[in-house]
Structure formats: structure tokens, C-alpha cells
């Protein structure tokens, strides 16, 4: 397997579009990002296929979370961020200054590394997004909450304590609640920033199973430290290093037959 990578392959430009022939949900072209004067993402181009799980792997600080946060413009919150290139979603550039960022975030939900339920009841957590979007009718809200909790495979565990504080749930339940909260507004894309890094193996397994269910309805982009996880759940994987997308391709191929030397070194544990 290691020997399968040719020297010429590693000399190819890292930003070469990956040969993925599926319907793209998000298209990233020549994306670069600076924090002040420090460059964090270098000329990244790729497309994220619809209704698939796309994973980013790479060592800490390689820019995979930054790339993920570009997709719902969470980087706007950071002072001194500069972005070049384009990210197109359904034909519009999401970095267009005329675009309402709240509209974008309606379409792109996010689940964070640390589960961060609001200090409110389970019900209110899930109903938060719909309420923001203007759903007032109580029975509508109840329907949305039930559907979302079922979608996040949490309904059976919390249906009898919807009015209790969400902070009383276990870590894994809290993370699934965050997923339910994100899908309550029915986004097109679901971003997951290392969603299992703080969870035990059983809770992790539940969330991975959930992701395989969710990809029928949502396009999922996940950042993970855990290569086995990427191998288990994702259809496509991108390997990032020092702000560059070194390799992007079908997961099975990337793990069994990487084109790049650096990818191979990383997945075989030579660094990272």
C-alpha cells in the first residue's frame, strides 16, 4: 500500500479538483483565508456532493475546522478575517456581501465539538431555531420537535422529559440534542465539527449510525481527528495539511490507495 504512490503524484498541484462525478451541493473554488496576516487556507478547490458524508481529516491546526466554518460563515465572528475565492451553493456565492448571512445559516446547520445545548428545556432547545424563523403555533412546534428528536434518534430517551433542563442529559444525548436542534430548521447541509471528540465509544457509535441515516436527507460535512471514524462514516474524504487540501477523493480509495505521499504518511501514522 505505501509503495503504491508514485513520486509524480505528490508533485501534482494540491488544489486539483477531485474527480467526483456526483451532484455537487457546494463548490469551493480557489478559496484562501487569512487571519490577519497569517494564511490559514491556501487555494482550496473542491466540490461537496449532495446527500453524501464528506470528511476532512488532518493534524491539528491544518485548517479543516476553518474550512468547515467558511461554509456557514462562522468565521465572520473573528476579527481580521480575509477571504478570497468563492464558495457556491445552489448557484450563489455565499461570500457575496449582499447575501443575508442568516439565510445562509438557515440552509447550513452546524454541530459543534463541545455539545452546547442552551440552558433551557429539551423542548426549548429544539424549538429555538423554528422560533427564530417565526414559528409561533404551539402544535406546529411540537410536531417539529418530535420529528427532529426522532431524526436525531433521541426521542425514545427524552420524550418523557421534554420540559426538563437539557443540561441534565448525558454527553452523548446532549450532542444528539444539538443535532436535533440543527435539523429542526431543515437545512440542506449539516456541518459537524469533531462531533464525537468528547464522547465515549458507545455514544460515538450512536452518532455515527445516526450520520448514516441522516445522509439520506442532508448533505453532511464532518471534521474529525479520528481516521477510523472518517473511514467508517464518510463517502468522500479530504486530507488537509498546513492549510492545503493535499488530497480529496472517495474514502475507500484515499485510505487504501492514496495518491499523495503525505496522505499515506498521515494515514499510516508516520506523523500527525
Amino acid at each position: 500500500m505505501p509503495g503504491a504512490v508514485s513520486v509524480t503524484a505528490s508533485l501534482k498541484p494540491s488544489a486539483s479538483p477531485a474527480p467526483i462525478m456526483e451532484m455537487p451541493m457546494v463548490e469551493i473554488e480557489h478559496l484562501s483565508l487569512w487571519y490577519g496576516t497569517k494564511i490559514a487556507l491556501k487555494d482550496i478547490s473542491m466540490s461537496i456532493p449532495k446527500h453524501r458524508v464528506t470528511a476532512y481529516i488532518g493534524p491539528s491546526g491544518c485548517g479543516k475546522s476553518t474550512l468547515l466554518r467558511c461554509l456557514n460563515r462562522m468565521n465572520d465572528l473573528v476579527d481580521g478575517v480575509r477571504i478570497e475565492g468563492s464558495i457556491r451553493m445552489g448557484g450563489t456565492d455565499i461570500n457575496d456581501p449582499g447575501l443575508d448571512v442568516t439565510d445562509l445559516r438557515k440552509r447550513v446547520g452546524m454541530v459543534f465539538q463541545k455539545s452546547n445545548p442552551f440552558p433551557k428545556s429539551v423542548f426549548e432547545n429544539v424549538a429555538y431555531g423554528p422560533r427564530i424563523l417565526g414559528v409561533r403555533n404551539q402544535s406546529d412546534l411540537e410536531g417539529i420537535v418530535e420529528r427532529s428528536l426522532k431524526g436525531a434518534a433521541l426521542w425514545d430517551e427524552v420524550s418523557d422529559r421534554l420540559r426538563d433542563s437539557a443540561l441534565g442529559l448525558s454527553g452523548g444525548q446532549q450532542q444528539r440534542l444539538c443535532i436535533a436542534r440543527a435539523i429542526a430548521v431543515e437545512p440542506d447541509v449539516l456541518l459537524m465539527d469533531e462531533p464525537c471528540s468528547a464522547l465515549d465509544p458507545i455514544a460515538t457509535a450512536k452518532i455515527e449510525e445516526l450520520m448514516l441515516d441522516l445522509k439520506n436527507s442532508y448533505t453532511i460535512v464532518i471534521v474529525t481527528h479520528n481516521m477510523q471514524q472518517a473511514a467508517r462514516v464518510s463517502d468522500h474524504t479530504g486530507f488537509m495539511l498546513l492549510g492545503e487540501l493535499v488530497e480529496f477523493g472517495v474514502t475507500r480509495q484515499l485510505f487504501t490507495n492514496p495518491r499523495e505521499k503525505q496522505t499515506e504518511d498521515y494515514i499510516t501514522g508516520r506523523f500527525g
Partner: protein, 537 residues
């Protein structure tokens, strides 16, 4: 030797002793202060026994022992301080007596201690009751029966007189003043004659009639009070006291422990619920309690939104940098400006500038008498709000800084705007910190005296800032305040010795009010904390 010393230090033991010692010292000082206040304040209301001391030269002194101390310069000798009262008869309330000179001590049960509306306590033996100059009951027993029979009626009449003076006549006066001001306002606009002015003048006549009627009732009530009680004090001095001035008669030497306790409770209630008498040295402090609490509440209503909004801008919207840091330092240092400086600012800005302008635009007819252009509860509360706003800003800012980033991001990622995030996520989470700031601010405001002295506190306010006449809440009125009351009674009163226990009692009350206000705010904060506990991760 050196290694031993080093080992002791390395063990950490001395540091534990040092920290523990510092805590103990602070606690002891505070406990001592509170103990002193409790001892002096609570003892004030206890009906002490009355001692009749016969001196070596045959003189008799009757009074309550309030103090005992060694005679300066003499060995093993003590002297006692007697409260002989009867200020109008003897000229002084207190007398020092060397114990050595006392040949006989007794506690006769027939000595009456009479509380009256003027001149402080009267201590002596009841002799007779007179009505219109004729004796109707003679002898201690008969006099006491007669006094008991007549006292409730006298008290009722006294209350009625007070009601007419303050309420009935007060209302008529207020209405007359209002009409007078409206007439003056018409004159200022150059229509001093005409139907409108005539209509107003026509309203004055019935008011004057009403006034005369109430006045007549007052006179009738006053003259109906012809009964007097005669009391014999030390040295055979007699005092004829109108029964209408008697508040309460008691015989401490004949009272049982239970009776004394009941009396004690009554006195405490009177202290809390009654108006002051005798230039604040007697009676209660109710107006001061009311003024303090109300001023603190108005201040809270002003300072909370102001401080919270300022903190939100500083932490949530302002670009963090040198300028914001400088503002933050300045805000923190504001808390160190002497409070009297805030008072001076309050006088210059609120009273003269803002109040003066309000008077010119809205109350020109009352000028030159100022309405808002003089000290009042509103200006005092605003001045204190200014004084305490740094506390609220600092506490709120710290609360905002402690909210995990994840909470805000979660909300923003759900397509909430920054404003929606602030209102739905940040504000509930920061609520406990806001209340912490408010608790500190209220404690500071309740104890502050200096700025109030020049912005609206008075020794004796004729009316509460809240009453039954329109517009009910009189923000322009001057008010009484417990802190100032302490200063006034303790240092400005004509009879400091007699008033001193009152100082401690008032201090105790002020402490209790601050504790009560704080407990209320703390319980609210704890409820919010449980409700909006920020996530553990």
C-alpha cells in the same frame, strides 16, 4: 537550625496560619461591630427598672441606670449614670452619682414612667387627675384607674387632630395651592382676567369654607381635652401634664418579665412604624425607612438598565482595543471617586441644570419657589445611580465574559441574528451577574449619606414621597434616610445623650434593611442561576 526553619516553611504550615489569622481578625472586627450595635440597639427598648436612690445628704434621685464606670482617679470606686428624665423640671436628662454616696436603694412599684409627646420621659408618682382644674381622682391608685379610663379617648382625639392637620387641611391646602398656581400661570400668559380666571377664583371660596370648617373642628377637639394628670417628681416638684400629651404610662418596677417583653415588642413596633417626635430623638423612624427603601428602589430602576446596556456595548459591540480598555479602567476608577463629589455633581447637574430647566418649562407659575430645582428623592436616587453604575457595569461585563463562546455560536449557527442571540441566550445567562451587581449597588446606596445630604435628604420631611394625593408618587419631594438619620440624631441633636441609643437602634435597622434587600436579590439570583445555569462544558 536553618534546615528546620526551611522545613517548617516548606510544609506550608505558616501560610495556613497566616491566612487563617487574617480571616479570624477580620471576622472578629466585624463581629465586634455587630455585637456593639446589637447590644446598644436592642437594649434601647427594654423597660429598665427605676431606682430610687437616697444620697448621704438626704437628696433623692429617681431614675433608670444606664451606665456604670470607675470614678476617674479613685481606686475601687464606681459611679452610675442615672436617666432621671423630666427634662422640663431638672434641665438635664442624666445625672452621674458616686455609688459611695448612695445610702439607700429601692425600687418602689408605684413609680410611673410616662412617655409624652413633648420633653421626653416623665418619671414620678401619680398624684391626681384634674378636669378643667378640678380634681376628679386623687391618690395613686384612683389616679391610675382614671388615667387608664381616659387614655384611649385621649389617644383617639390626638390621632384625629393629627389626621385633620395632615390629611384634611393638607388636602385643602394642596388644592388651594394648585388653584393659586393655575391663576398665576394664567396671569403669566396675560389672561389674569376673564372667564377662566373667574371660574378658578370661584373654586377658591368653597375651599376656604372647608378650611374654616376643619379649623373649627380642630379647635373644638383641642378644647375638649381639658383633663390633666399631676405627677410628683423628685424633691416634691409637681408637673401637671395634659392628658392629650400622654402617649403611654407604665410602672417598670411592677412589671413581670412577660409584661416587659410584650412592652418591648410594642416599643420595637412603634420604632419601626411611627413618625419621629422631639427632633427625631423619640418616636419611630418610619419615614426614614420608607425614604431609604424607596430611594434605593428608584436608584435600582435607573441604574440596572443603564449599567447593563453600557456593559453590553463595551463587551459585545465595541471593538476591543486600547480605547475600550481605557474606558474600562476609567469606569473601574469611578468607583473610587469620593461620594461627596458625586453629590456636588448631582447638585450642579441634576438639581440646577435639569431641575431648573424643568421648572422653567413646566412649572413657571411656581417660581421663584423651585419644584424640581431643589433637592428631592428623584435627584438623590439619580446621583446614587451615577455613583453605583460602575459596580453594575463591572459585574455585568464579567458575567458576559464568562458566557461560553459555544452558547453564542450555537445560536448564531441556528440563523439567529446577533440581537436575537443577545436577547434570547446572552441576557438570560448574564442575569445572575446583573443581579450580583445590583446587590452590591443597593448595599452601597443604602449606606451612603454624604451625597444625599446635599441632594434631597432632610432631617424631618413633612410628607412621604408616596401618598394618596395625585400623582401619588412625588419624585420632587424631599425625604428622610436612615443613614442621615443616624448622623442627625447622633451628632446634630440637642440632647445627644438621650438620643445615642436611638443611633444604635437606627443603625441596626439600616443593617437589617440592607440584609433584607440583599436576601431578596440573592434569592432571585439563585433562582435564575438554577434556571439559566450555563452549560458545564
Amino acid at each position: 537550625m536553618r534546615t528546620r526553619v526551611r522545613r517548617i516553611f516548606a510544609s506550608g504550615e505558616p501560610f495556613i496560619w497566616l491566612t487563617g489569622g487574617a480571616l479570624t481578625l477580620s471576622l472578629l472586627l466585624v463581629a465586634g461591630l455587630i455585637g456593639l450595635i446589637l447590644y446598644n440597639g436592642l437594649g434601647f427598648f427594654w423597660p429598665r427598672d427605676v431606682l430610687r436612690a437616697t444620697l448621704a445628704d438626704g437628696k433623692i434621685l429617681t431614675g433608670q441606670i444606664v451606665d456604670r464606670e470607675p470614678v476617674p482617679g479613685a481606686v475601687d470606686q464606681h459611679r452610675i449614670k442615672l436617666k432621671v428624665a423630666n427634662r422640663d423640671l431638672y434641665g438635664a436628662d442624666f445625672q452621674w452619682v458616686d455609688e459611695k454616696q448612695i445610702t439607700r436603694r429601692e425600687y418602689p412599684p408605684d413609680i410611673a414612667v410616662i412617655e409624652r409627646t413633648e420633653w421626653g420621659l416623665l418619671i414620678g408618682v401619680l398624684k391626681e387627675v384634674r378636669d378643667g382644674g378640678r380634681p376628679v381622682a386623687v391618690g395613686a391608685g384612683a389616679t391610675w384607674d382614671e388615667v387608664q379610663r381616659r387614655l384611649p379617648e385621649a389617644a383617639r382625639v390626638r390621632r384625629e387632630i393629627q389626621r385633620i392637620e395632615t390629611d384634611a387641611i393638607g388636602v385643602v391646602n394642596a388644592q388651594q395651592e394648585k388653584i393659586r398656581l393655575r391663576l398665576k400661570g394664567l396671569e403669566l400668559r396675560g389672561i389674569g382676567q376673564g372667564p377662566e380666571a373667574e371660574a378658578l377664583r370661584a373654586q377658591l371660596a368653597p375651599l376656604q369654607e372647608k378650611y374654616a370648617l376643619e379649623e373649627a373642628r380642630l379647635v373644638a377637639l383641642r378644647t375638649s381635652q381639658s383633663a390633666t394628670v399631676v405627677v410628683v417628681a423628685d424633691g416634691g416638684k409637681e408637673k401637671e401634664l395634659p392628658l392629650s400629651q400622654v402617649v403611654d404610662v407604665r410602672f417598670p418596677n411592677a412589671m413581670s418579665g412577660v409584661a416587659k417583653s410584650a412592652y418591648y415588642a410594642g416599643r420595637v413596633w412603634e420604632f419601626v412604624a411611627d413618625d419621629p417626635r422631639e427632633s427625631n430623638t423619640e418616636g419611630g423612624v418610619f419615614p426614614a425607612i420608607f425614604g431609604t427603601v424607596m430611594m434605593v428602589l428608584i436608584m435600582s430602576i435607573v441604574v440596572t438598565p443603564l449599567g447593563v446596556l453600557a456593559a453590553f456595548y463595551l463587551r459585545e459591540y465595541a471593538r476591543q482595543g486600547a480605547f475600550v480598555s481605557a474606558v474600562r479602567i476609567a469606569v473601574n476608577n469611578l468607583a473610587g471617586v469620593p461620594s461627596i463629589v458625586f453629590g456636588v455633581f448631582g447638585v450642579g447637574f441634576f438639581i440646577y441644570l435639569v431641575g431648573g430647566s424643568i421648572d422653567r418649562f413646566f412649572y413657571p407659575e411656581a417660581l421663584p419657589t423651585p419644584t424640581y430645582g431643589t433637592g428631592g428623592i428623584l435627584w438623590a436616587a439619580l446621583t446614587l445611580a451615577l455613583l453605583t453604575v460602575p459596580v453594575v457595569i463591572v459585574a455585568t461585563e464579567e458575567g458576559l465574559a464568562a458566557i461560553p463562546r459555544g452558547a453564542r455560536e450555537a445560536s448564531l449557527a441556528l440563523s439567529a441574528t446577533k440581537l436575537e442571540t443577545t436577547l434570547r441566550v446572552v441576557l438570560p445567562a448574564v442575569m445572575p451577574s446583573i443581579l450580583t451587581g445590583l446587590i452590591l449597588a443597593m448595599a452601597r446606596a443604602a449606606g451612603e449619606v454624604a451625597p444625599l445630604m446635599i441632594t434631597g435628604v432632610v432631617k424631618l420631611a413633612p410628607a412621604l414621597p408616596l401618598d394618596g394625593t395625585w400623582p401619588f408618587l412625588h419624585m420632587d419631594r424631599k425625604f428622610m434616610h436612615l443613614g442621615f438619620h443616624i448622623y442627625d440624631v447622633g451628632f446634630q441633636s440637642p440632647n445627644v445623650d438621650a438620643a445615642r441609643p436611638m443611633v444604635f437602634a437606627t443603625t441596626l435597622l439600616l443593617l437589617l434593611i440592607v440584609v433584607f434587600l440583599n436576601l431578596f436579590a440573592i434569592s432571585m439570583r439563585n433562582r435564575l442561576r438554577r434556571k439559566y445555569a450555563t452549560s458545564a462544558v
